[in-house]
């Protein structure tokens, strides 16, 4: 139970840090699961338009019980509402919007990220394959791709790798990774550590990261 609570707190920490990626006035796609949680932490002053790849630009709050419309869901199949100024469209138009790089930002979950920005987040060989949904399109779509994930797996092994071991969702597509421990940018020169979460040291991050990590000159510690 305590462990579960910890997990929830860690997820909230990641989501709150990810929220800082969202610039006011921008168009954002949030992946299913933890990324969807990010919406709960969007700061009051920010004007953000959230896109749902099933055909909605301008996701609003969850509906009140009496507002529920079964024809109105997000990509995670949860009932939602639409903001003022929203629009509905087909999946073809939705992915034209995504593929055409009209979204400013996508925040997606990850299973593994490589130091060259490869992302694996859709299948584990040997386990039932559920499908990639829209992830393979989205990683090539938004102007900035931010991945949020745990830094290590349950065995303590790094999920930030030299090379992904799982089948890829996209190759050289990730711009930034936010984990429970650190924030890293994928740059021409390699993977750069730019922020460290509260309670962790540079040495601990480097040690728990399989990928080669360059330390940013502007590294900030305890930012979240």
């Amino acid at each position: 139970m305590l462990n579960q609570l910890d997990k929830a707190l860690v997820r909230e920490r990641i989501a709150r840090r990810a929220e800082r990626e969202i610039v006011s006035g921008s168009y954002v796609n949030l992946g299913i699961g933890m990324p969807t949680m990010v919406a709960n932490y969007i700061q009051g002053g920010k004007q953000v338009v959230l896109q749902s790849e099933n055909g909605l630009l301008g996701i609003g709050k969850s509906p009140l019980k009496e507002e529920v419309d079964p024809d109105l869901i997000n990509a995670g199949k949860e009932t939602v509402t639409a903001q003022e100024g929203a629009s509905y469209f087909s999946n073809a138009e939705s992915f034209a919007m995504i593929r055409g790089a009209h979204l400013d930002l996508a925040i997606l979950g990850g299973m593994e990220v490589s130091e060259t920005g490869d992302l694996a987040n859709w299948m584990i060989p040997g386990k039932m394959i559920k499908g990639m949904g829209g992830a393979m399109d989205i990683v090539h779509g938004a102007k900035k791709i931010v991945i949020i994930m745990d830094h290590v797996n349950k065995h303590g092994t790094s999920k930030i790798l030299k090379k992904c071991s799982l089948p890829l969702t996209g190759k050289q597509v990730v711009n930034r990774v936010i984990t429970d421990r650190a924030v890293m940018d994928v740059e021409e020169s390699g993977l750069v550590l730019i922020e460290i979460a509260e309670g962790w040291t540079v040495e601990e991050i480097v040690e728990s990261t399989e990928a080669e990590l360059k330390i940013s000159e502007h590294l900030r510690i305890g930012t979240y």
Partner: protein, 231 residues
């Protein structure tokens, strides 16, 4: 001008064993509920089904699956269905997974007479194996071909006797592209109205794409009811 059915059994009667069918919807939203039920009753077999998802165990395309009427499924996400997993692992069901945006665009291409196009989705991944990769402006793209169907079963909120359709909110999803990509498109509409009722500027699917319509009441099951409490 269009065929207007009053019996769902009649509406699906031309669909034969081995047909390729497209079925509209995203999750359980926007699916033609009664056409699917009629297809289950028809016992038609060896279907190839093109749909983003495959329903849940006891509703939507999951019912066709349970009844072993599907030989091959083309979709982007099929994870809500335990029977699906069982049939795949048992080798009873062939699956072709395609990125959602590629699926939508392949269906659009099918209706639009575009035989093939290039897209970045899937470059450098498993799904690119055996596919043609080509560089445009220093970026790699995959060649993808159009998808068509013998029958498209779609759902709209309103349809008129000229075949024009209007969808409600996110129930639009794959329905407009499938309407155009089906050799025969059968639209299940919540409300059937006279031509002239729908403003021509509000039409989502022009009537030319629709061969037959039928009015049907929808259950609209909710997969993930998410509500907020009054503040």
């Amino acid at each position: 001008m269009k065929t207007i059915y009053t019996s769902f059994a009649e509406a699906v009667a031309e669909i034969q064993d081995g047909s390729t069918i497209m079925v509209g919807g995203f999750g359980l939203v926007g699916i033609p509920e009664n056409l699917i039920l009629a297809l289950v009753d028809s016992q038609v077999k060896h279907l190839t089904v093109i749909s983003n998802n495959c329903g849940v165990d006891d509703w939507g395309l999951g019912l066709l699956l349970k009844n072993k009427q599907i030989d091959k499924m083309i979709g982007s996400y099929v994870g809500e269905n335990k029977e699906f997993e069982r049939q795949v692992l048992a080798g009873e069901l062939e699956v072709e997974l395609t990125p959602q945006g590629t699926l939508a665009e392949r269906i659009r291409a099918g209706g639009a007479g575009i035989p093939a196009f290039y897209t970045p989705a899937g470059v450098g991944t498993l799904i690119a194996e055996g596919e043609e990769v080509r560089v445009f402006n220093n970026k790699e793209y995959l060649l993808q071909t159009a998808l068509k169907a013998d029958f498209s079963l779609i759902r709209a909120a309103v349809g008129d006797h000229a075949g024009n359709l209007v969808y409600n909110k996110t129930a639009r999803n794959f329905n407009p592209m499938m309407a155009a990509a089906g050799k025969v498109t059968i639209a299940e509409v919540e409300q059937l109205v006279e031509p002239g009722t729908i403003d021509p500027d509000h039409v989502h699917t022009p009537g030319i794409y629709v061969q037959a319509l039928i009015e049907g009441a929808q259950e609209k099951r909710i997969e993930r009811l998410t509500i907020r409490q009054e503040a």
